[in-house]
Symmetry: C2
Subunit: 421 residues, 2 copies
């Protein structure tokens, strides 16, 4: 059970963390309708951190959508971080590990709130994702800029791709001790090879190589072991994901970035007996089923070896309704075999979109900054091209009612898989 | 006379400013030999600001070479500014003008050292040049990023190109009062039109439109009027520069950016009776005669209506020797009309470069961070192509002795101008 905090806890001993990931700042920034969405959601997350009075914010990568963010995106990000994370609130987290080692490209080689020249109220800790990984001349990440600026504590950055050693940031607040492990994004295939070759190492009391026999019994420990990763979680080909089971069993909780659908409710890994929480993105970067799920961030509370994760629904995310229809399954109902299939599907699609618009309206939260013009995506799976119509012209009918006029309907050819393969 | 400070001045009443311009951070950053030069010089400038214990640093534009600096350049700039301009030293400059108006894109709409969350020791003030002017999506300048980060006070940014109103930053220290006017770069042709149409306005006690009759007598004033511009100063076509005489006579001193040759010693404008100081760039961005001049920054001291400007020679600038030879003038001496001209010029050039290398050695300052491999540029002006040789192969002879192997010699065709034109 993830809710394992006891009544004995009190504010001085509980580490409170706002957990979010995949904010993709700058996604679609030039879109006249959706351009602000990524920033709006990120601002709400920062506001939640302030109102929940957390000790820190933990980000799981892909803070920016582009490896080299536009000056507009960087500017807005800096402005928001300065506005919400700076201030007089004292930070009560003590860093016990070597700060010069933990934080990449930090001026003064320290966590930002210990820099005597900065007044930090809520420190932000982040790994990098595949969208903000080091690139270009100097192999710098946008997170390096934020680190050097003192805005973000950039951790979990590997420096040697022939072997990865993960040393945790050791954090103490009162009676609770957190070992925070970060594994910034590595190409999944490469990571799979490294794991296979026992070249991923976790430096914790009693070092454990990932992939080694995982039958150590989980002892009562002094540390709460929290890992943040940014990899494929779902199997996308044999070496194209990080299998949960390969992560070491001494972990208590894994925050999984990169996957955009919200599965924030911690799920227990039966074999390794840790929990995995996948917050999901704060802005949809594709009009897919997963991105249409209600978006959340997490309020993680750690007391000694126990944790509680409360899902906080985001109120400023643009309504988004997704529906997928297999047209052959509806052939009879719609009379598609009786001719004029294109018109019949057109009419059906129009009805569906009207219904979806009604569903979208139920996603209005009343938050003053929520954009209400919805994203609507109706996916039509077809086998026979006679079902198709002009999707662009279709979208134009809803030009004042949806945020994505150009791609309301998407036709996808249904590939029949033969059973023998 | 520019040195007009009296004996009555004392530290509490003198405004001390480190003046520099055209640092072109990131110039040639991918060049294996010269890549660090721009950063090295900028670091020396910041060190000078610290050792001279100035009240502020004033930059005249082109802080960056590229409108969108690489992450490497931005990272290094931020790192240097944080290292040298942050700290506990109290800033004794009082801003009297409306800070929300003065500083572009400042979080909290204030000068950085009044931001309670930042500990600034030496504030940096900058206009933008043509290399770091607002561009791209959002029309942001790299200076906007530095402003939002709290690293630079970005002033003199016009927002309306149909008319330019220049409101000074009003600064007081003890008995001295400085009105600091900034005119960030505007295309010279456009600026010429605006001036011609009386659409450039200086907001000072007794507003004066630039270009209006300039015969006001210079009264004893409460304010020292300092303008920073970033325009062509030399005439490059009729509307392709800003004529000094068009600047209003109430000014006391103009700091002129954009021109890269150092003419830092203040020159009096006879008509308007202000002084002009042109610090020049801190890194050569072209191998021209002007860039080969010894490079300086200025230590400007203002006491009431008087100023003193001390030129501080930069010690970390790479040695650079430039020479231009008109070959026809040497035809007889070299025997160029007696055949084998190419070989004769080759031999001559080789001797010249050897002599230039000796001159370059005299530019060694002993500063531990000065790169000593010199820049050498021999320009050969020719009329007859028989004088030419393979300049690339020529440079290879000096491959271990010069920083610019690929272009030591440059041939330029001498255009004969007929007198009747
Ligand atoms: Mn992502
Ligand atoms: Mn990702
Ligand atoms: Mn310049
Ligand atoms: Mn310029």
């Amino acid at each position: 059970m993830e809710d394992t905090t006891g009544a004995e806890q009190d504010a001085d001993n509980v580490i409170r963390i706002l957990v979010a990931t995949d904010n993709h700042l700058g996604y679609g920034e030039k879109d006249a309708v959706r351009g602000e969405d990524s920033f709006t959601a990120f601002e709400e997350i920062l506001e939640l951190a302030v109102s929940e009075d957390v000790d820190m914010i933990l980000l799981g990568g892909d803070l920016f959508h582009d490896a080299v963010p536009s000056q507009n995106s960087m500017h807005k990000c800096i402005e928001l971080l300065r506005r919400y994370t700076f201030g007089d609130r004292p930070v009560s987290l003590e860093i016990l590990s070597d700060q010069a080692q933990c934080f990449h490209n930090a001026v003064n080689q320290s966590v930002n709130y210990e820099d005597p020249n900065l007044n930090i109220a809520i420190p932000v800790f982040s790994i990098h994702g595949n969208h903000d990984d080091p690139s270009g001349f100097g192999r710098l990440s946008s997170l390096d800029l934020l680190s050097t600026s003192g805005l973000v504590n950039y951790f979990g950055r590997w420096t040697d791709l022939s072997q990865v050693e993960i040393s945790p940031v050791l954090i103490r607040k009162g009676e609770s001790q957190l070992a925070l492990y970060g594994l910034s994004h590595i190409h999944d295939g490469r990571l799979a090879r490294l794991i296979k070759d026992f070249k991923v190492k976790f430096n914790c009391p009693g070092t454990v190589a990932i992939g080694e026999a995982g039958d150590e019994s989980k002892e009562e420990e002094d540390w709460f072991h929290l890992l943040v990763v940014h990899q494929n979680r779902a199997e996308r080909g044999p070496k194209n994901y990080l299998p949960e089971d390969l992560l070491p069993p001494f972990l208590d909780l894994v925050i999984w970035g990169h996957e955009h659908d919200c599965r924030i409710e911690p799920e227990e890994n039966a074999k390794q007996r840790f929990y995995v929480s996948q917050p999901g993105s704060s802005v949809p970067t594709s009009l897919s089923e997963g991105e249409a799920k209600k978006k959340h961030v997490g309020l993680l509370e750690i007391y000694k070896g126990k944790f509680k994760l409360k899902a906080l629904p985001l109120q400023t995310v643009r309504p988004f309704v997704y529906e997928s229809v297999v047209l052959p399954d509806r052939a009879e109902e719609l009379g598609l075999d009786e001719g004029d299939a294109s018109n019949k599907v057109f009419k059906f699609a129009k009805e569906r979109v009207e219904a979806m618009l009604e569903m979208a309206a139920t996603q209005h939260t009343g938050h003053p900054r929520q954009p209400t013009l919805p994203l609507i995506r109706l996916r039509l799976l077809y086998t026979d091209e006679s079902c198709m119509f002009n999707a662009i012209r279709f979208g134009q009918m809803f030009s004042t009612r949806v945020a994505n006029v150009q791609d309301v309907v998407q036709f996808s050819k249904l590939i029949k898989r033969t059973k023998t393969e």
